[in-house]
């Protein structure tokens, strides 16, 4: 599973931070920080975050978070 965020859509409303705090954070200026490498397979230690990541992507009001499964 890979995660990619479209920064031209992101409004930094922080829902994803609340849902998947091990993957997303907001910096002091309120800008989104993705704490994994985007477009790269999620590290093994975050495997249990997959459900939260899907929920965060589904809950994003602007659809800025894209989850890619497998080789896609």
């Amino acid at each position: 599973m890979k995660v990619v965020v479209d920064r031209t859509l992101c409004i930094s409303n922080g829902l994803c931070v609340a849902i998947a705090p091990r993957v997303f954070d907001l910096d002091d200026q309120g800008s989104l920080v993705v704490m994994v490498e985007e477009g790269v397979e999620l590290p093994e230690q975050l495997a249990e975050e997959k459900r939260a990541l899907h929920e965060a992507a589904a809950s994003c009001p602007v659809g800025a978070i894209k989850i890619q499964e497998g080789d896609k």
Binding site: T8, I11, N13, G14, S59, C60, V62, G63
Partner: protein, 408 residues
Amino acid sequence: MKTIDDLVSGELDTMDPEWWSDPYRHLADARDRGWLFRSPRGFEVVRYQQMFTLLRNRNMSQEHVRMAHRAGITHPEVLRFRTNFLINTLGTDHIRIRTSVGAYFGHENVAALQSAIRGIVEDIFDEVDDPHNVEMVRGVCEQIPARTFLYMIGHDTRDVEMANFIAQASDSILKIFREDVTLKDEVEQTYLKVFELVQRIIDERRASSAEPQGDLVDHVLSAQDRDTITGQEAFDLIVLALEASVDNTYTQMVLTLSALLENPDQWNQLKQANDEALTRQAIEEGIRFRPRVIGQRRTAYSPFEFADVHVPEGSDFYLSVLSAHRDPEAFENPDVFDIHRTMTRPTVMFGGGMTACMGSGLARLEMQEFFGVLMDRYPNVALTRPWSYEFVGRTVCVPGEMWVNLDG
């Protein structure tokens, strides 16, 4: 350390009616001189970049209690709502309440509502008596979010009387933003009727043995059952959904339609393409070019540092959407309405950061389906009378009646 006052480039006389006769010119002049000004509304931010950053600042929030007082509100139930509702809630409580309905307003669920919204729009156009003489604001556009709200609460979307009540209630409640004490009674009395309606909706749903429908009421009550939110917060969320989902949505729809009809070449290109992606682009351009919400008020609820200066607690900001959306540093040729514009920066009318409008995806979908049906059924739609809009209360753009011939 310097304070925010040291960054002020001058004053903006936004109380002067003359200023509002051509705000774009005054704002362009201001942007040339600096990004921060003093106005009767506090610190006024006119450039996109600083506004974009301040909207996301977690020390800033909307401040609705003082607004309610300025609007003359005294009824304890109304004051309680305006004090405790989501938009006025800070920090972790804000995120907790917002997350409880995040899945409902998230883009995945909103996308699944597309066919239902399309059906609502088709119904409304079916009910038009005389396609050659239609007042779009009340006759069509206002009905779309009002009936969408009925769908959100599991009510019959063809109940015209109820839809009219929802539309009228939203309109009356949002007059609180005008901060006009002569409107106090209208605002308070409407709130009380809405409270009664929402309580009835909740009571009926609690008493029902039917399977959950996955609508907004189900989402909210299920969050209450999981103890994510309290019963009062569940109630307040439904009231907020009603007040926030109607006026701004239909007004933006009308404002975007006006820009398209005033630029027939753009409308022709849009309808010839009849493509969802281009329609979404046109909707975003309409939001940028002629936004319903022309400014966002924010207050620093705790001190912070910004642009190397100290911003004291209690500092009031007015973030000018009108100006940010015409900032050439953010949007090339900003005074041109161009549906083919590729947005490299997000528009800011729906706010940003923690308090960004949670229904913005739904509002965009309603607009998309409105323009979709209009292009399919009435591609030759044309204005039949002059049309205008005005800026009211220095916070919103209000359209006048819009008479059209749907068949051109």
